[in-house]
């Protein structure tokens, strides 16, 4: 069988290179019974279109951002809620428990989760230092079109963000139509946004998550042994990708600093209060699974305590 998988991730990126390597390995280990064919660079359309094409049967899977599946299963937003994590160690600790929960939720909706990857932390980047939460007032803040969570957090912070497609952001920054964005360091460099901003508020706003899902009906057509091989190989590739992405972001942070971008320490407590209020509002519209998120918070607190006692 051939699994046709599409993504907006560009060809030639390290992400695609790993995925191609995984496809090669799958082909080899299944004796050519399972092939994976990729359609990178968004040639099959946006994440939403990829999902539509999975329904029509043209595609079998997609590597898409977590947000694109949120209306089908809101649990995919679990790691991407604002000001949840302080560092990647925390993320990796809770993933052991919560990845299976997300996989199960997707399975209930007909999607086989093959891989879940950390795309790095996104930070507020701006033309001025955003140290106090009130500094955001009067800023022209970009949010992706239709991003309910992003919109809500800035609304609670007291401003109306500007929703526009990602392709318009660079020109927006250039003309001054926008001056504040939320993105991870390597993304800022890849999209050249770093040439238009001077400050980075050094507090992780949210974790960008990507996932590889395939249609369960298509996946079930593969025999059980081969299914296991696909799962195992792709999972290993995603593990490697987490490391590659982490290193990429460390390098990107250094490059940002070298480019003269100032790293400011914002008030974490203020933002956490704002996030809390936003999450209460978002719970009302079912934007995330509140119970599971509560469990995640508890798990995080325990982990933080254990880390503190270890340090003592």
């Amino acid at each position: 069988a051939t699994l046709k998988i599409a993504t907006v991730v560009p060809n030639g990126s390290s992400w695609m290179n790993e995925m191609k390597a995984a496809a090669k390995e799958v082909k080899q280990k299944t004796g050519g019974r399972v092939k994976i064919k990729y359609y990178p660079g968004g040639v099959m359309g946006s994440d939403k279109t990829v999902l539509r094409k999975m329904r029509s049967g043209q595609l079998h899977g997609g590597a898409i951002s977590a947000g694109a599946l949120a209306h089908i299963y809101n649990g995919v937003q679990l790691y991407s809620l604002p000001f949840t994590f302080n560092n990647l160690a925390e993320v990796r600790h809770v993933r052991k428990t919560f990845d299976p929960i997300i996989a199960e939720g997707l399975a209930d909706n007909g999607f086989q989760l093959l891989g879940l990857s950390e795309g790095g932390f996104a930070y507020l980047m701006s033309n001025k230092a955003l140290t106090k939460a009130a500094d955001i007032q009067g800023q022209k803040v970009w949010v992706p079109e239709g991003d309910l969570i992003g919109n809500e957090i800035f609304a609670v912070a007291g401003i109306k963000p500007i929703a526009s497609p990602i392709s318009n952001v660079y020109t927006g920054l250039q003309t001054g139509l926008l001056d504040t964005v939320t993105i991870n360091p390597s993304g800022a460099i890849a999209l050249q946004w770093h040439t238009k901003i001077q400050h980075l508020a050094d507090e992780p706003l949210l974790l960008i998550m990507g996932m590889l899902v395939v249609d369960q009906k298509a996946f079930k057509k593969i025999n059980a042994d081969d299914q296991a091989i696909v799962k195992q190989v792709v999972a290993a590739a995603f593990k490697r990708l987490d490391t590659i992405n982490e290193e990429g972001d460390i390098g990107a942070r250094a490059a940002l600093q070298k480019n003269g971008i100032q790293f400011d320490k914002p008030s974490g407590t203020e933002w956490r209060e704002i996030a809390k209020k936003a999450l209460i509002n978002l719970e009302k519209v079912d934007a995330y699974p509140a119970d599971t998120y509560q469990q995640l918070q508890t798990a995080l607190e325990e982990y933080r305590k254990s880390q503190q006692s270890e340090q003592k």
Binding site: K48, R52, G146, I159, I162, S164
Partner: protein
């Protein structure tokens, strides 16, 4: 159905299409201007305006295409019919419009299947707005276009020197 009644239905349909098209264009212009004005006035914008504008582009495009099919003003490489006689012209006209009618019917048919899939899987357009009502425009316009092209086929079959575009009447003769 008697001829008079068919004409009445047709006229009603034409008026409805014209009205819808004008309304969509006005709404689009209004929203685009509101978006800019809001930003100038408050520094922010309404999150739903850009995605709505993009849906309106689709609607406007397809309604415009429907309008163009009424008088067959679609873009075409009309080379052969220039070098053939009246009978050749008739053949070109019949096959071209019948072909378009069939293609539009197929697109309309699968457009309905597309919408069924959308409803079944809770496809969303943006935020939490369901996509299927917005996607209805595809089977709607393509089925009406199929009818228009079929009527042109009949016109070519029955009427001597049939010219679907009144503006061009006589020019190609």
């Amino acid at each position: 159905m008697p001829k008079i009644q068919i004409q009445r239905v047709q006229r009603w349909l034409h008026n409805a299409e014209d009205f819808l098209l004008a309304a969509v264009l006005f709404v689009m212009l209004f929203l685009a201007i509101t978006d800019i004005a809001m930003r100038l006035a408050t520094g922010g914008s309404l999150i739903w305006i850009p995605p709505v504008l993009q849906v309106l582009v689709l609607w406007l495009g397809l309604l415009g295409a429907l309008l163009a099919s009424r008088s067959q003003e679609h873009i075409a490489i009309d080379v052969l019919s220039r070098f053939v006689g009246p009978f050749g012209k008739k053949i070109c006209g019949i096959s071209g419009s019948l072909f378009a009618a069939i293609v539009c019917s197929i697109v309309a048919f699968y457009g309905i299947e597309f919408i069924q899939q959308s409803i079944e899987y809770d496809d969303i357009a943006f935020a939490q707005v369901p996509a299927w009502p917005l996607q209805l425009i595809i089977p709607f316009t393509f089925s009406l276009m199929a009818i228009r092209f079929f009527l042109h086929t009949l016109g070519f079959l029955r009427i001597k020197d049939y010219q679907p575009n009144p503006a061009l009447k006589g020019e190609n003769a």
